[in-house]
């Protein structure tokens, strides 16, 4: 902002500057490496703790459902992976925005490392959903709006994974993948609202922000614990991969000091 134009509101201006400083401060790869190394054990062990409690409770102690019987226990994996599939893609899109607008080196690396983990979550969501569909609905797969839009999300992940690695010049790969990630964001609201906008074989969501959950509490608690465990596990995996990626950049810089910077970072 040029000096001649005074900021409209002094407080909002300083707030923006402070937020910007905050992001610049923590988005530095070296600093991120140190912080994530320090918090990694806490994230990893709490992820293991909550996942074991949640899945153990869901598998052995929660009651069978009145219509689905014991097959309802697949839900304790299906729902957390479904949420992570969408949340992971949202994170990928934020990285893409950061790559295109602010050209943050950490955002580039994060996009590269989040996508494979998110793709695995989406694959798990599709596989467990299909394994639940066969005994419940009577079919492994139908082309309804919910199932198809999640399959599209999986292909978006695969496209991102290959596009970001497809270029000799790494920066061009990051930018192309960022554009794909941002364009694919349209799929997220489609997934979320597909069961409300169109009639589908998949049932509407049981947990929403607007009304009381239509799950009995004896099933809701193990579900919440496994959602927490899986989310922490997702973070732990991304942290570990991102730390390895930061070290690998450093290794490339030491091994090939004469290379252009865009081929290293």
């Amino acid at each position: 902002m040029p000096d001649s134009i005074p900021p409209r509101s002094c407080t909002s201006h300083t707030m923006i500057t402070r937020t910007r400083h905050f992001f610049h401060y923590y988005a530095n790869p070296g600093r991120f490496y140190h912080i994530s190394t320090r918090i990694q054990p806490y994230v990893t062990y709490s992820a293991l703790f909550f996942t074991f409690i949640g899945l153990g409770w869901g598998l052995f102690f929660s009651p069978p459902d009145w219509q689905q019987g014991d097959t309802v226990r697949i839900m304790y994996i299906h729902v957390p992976t479904a949420i992570l599939a969408s949340a992971g893609y949202a994170a990928l899109a934020l990285c893409g925005l950061s790559t295109l607008v602010w050209q943050h080196p950490l955002a580039n690396l994060a996009a590269m490392e989040i996508a494979p983990v998110g793709a695995c979550a989406t694959a798990l969501c599709l596989i467990t959903g299909s394994l639940r569909g066969k005994p419940m609905w009577g079919t492994y797969w139908v082309w309804d709006a919910r199932l198809t839009s999640v399959l599209i999300l999986f292909f978006l992940y695969l496209g991102h994974i290959s596009l970001i690695r497809a270029f000799e010049d790494k920066q061009r790969g990051y930018q192309a993948a960022a554009i794909l990630a941002l364009a694919g964001v349209i799929d997220l609201p489609i997934i979320k609202f597909s069961v409300d906008w169109w009639n589908t074989l998949h049932q509407p969501d049981s947990i929403t922000l607007t009304r009381a959950p239509t799950i009995s509490r004896s099933m809701l608690w193990p579900l919440i614990l496994s959602m927490l465990g899986f989310s922490l596990g997702f973070c732990a995996l991304v942290f570990a991969r991102l730390r390895a990626a930061i070290l690998e950049v450093r290794i490339r810089a030491l091994l090939f000091p004469s290379h252009r910077r865009s081929n290293i970072v």
Binding site: M1, W137, G138, S206, I215
Partner: protein
């Protein structure tokens, strides 16, 4: 406006345009994205013969009849959307969730105005999850009978456990 702010706005405008385009496409093809049609839609405008349609609705209580045709079980039942009912004939094994009051989707052809021959039956389950004992207790107390459709939404306020 700095270069970064300009880039941010450009990216956001691009996403908004792309989103609008996709939204309009989905709106235009909305009738093709629906997975099934209802009995009243089929009765109002019957699809051409031999065309495979997916019919969705609730199995009417007391309408399920089992018989046998050369070793294969044959079942007939009525599917309703609350306004009209269509009688469905199906040969084969039904999914576990099939029962009176359950939402089902049958895939097959329309044979006459209110008759349908299904080649496949899919059971839909709703978004309510509760232990069997709770469902039984609700039925005994007369608050909800699963043979007449999904549980009413207000039972979740009175019967949380």
């Amino acid at each position: 406006m700095t270069r970064k702010t300009r880039r941010l706005w450009l990216v956001l405008i691009c996403i908004a345009c792309f989103g609008t385009a996709i939204g309009l496409i989905l709106r235009a093809f909305s009738s093709d994205i629906v997975f099934f049609v209802t009995p009243s839609q089929i009765v109002a405008s019957p699809p051409p013969d031999h065309r495979l349609v997916k019919l969705g609705g609730m199995v009417v209580a007391g309408s399920v009849h089992y018989s046998k045709h050369k070793e294969t079980p044959v079942v007939t039942f009525d599917v309703t959307d609350g306004r009209t009912a269509v009688t469905v004939t199906y040969q084969g094994i039904l999914p576990d969730l099939f029962r009176e009051g359950q939402s089902v989707i049958v895939i097959g052809t329309v044979t006459s105005k209110h008759r349908f021959t299904a080649s496949e039956v899919l059971a839909k389950h709703d978004e309510t999850y509760m232990p069997k004992e709770v469902a039984d207790a609700l039925r005994k107390s007369g608050k909800w009978d699963p043979r007449f459709g999904p549980p009413p939404p207000d039972i979740w306020h009175s019967n949380q456990n």
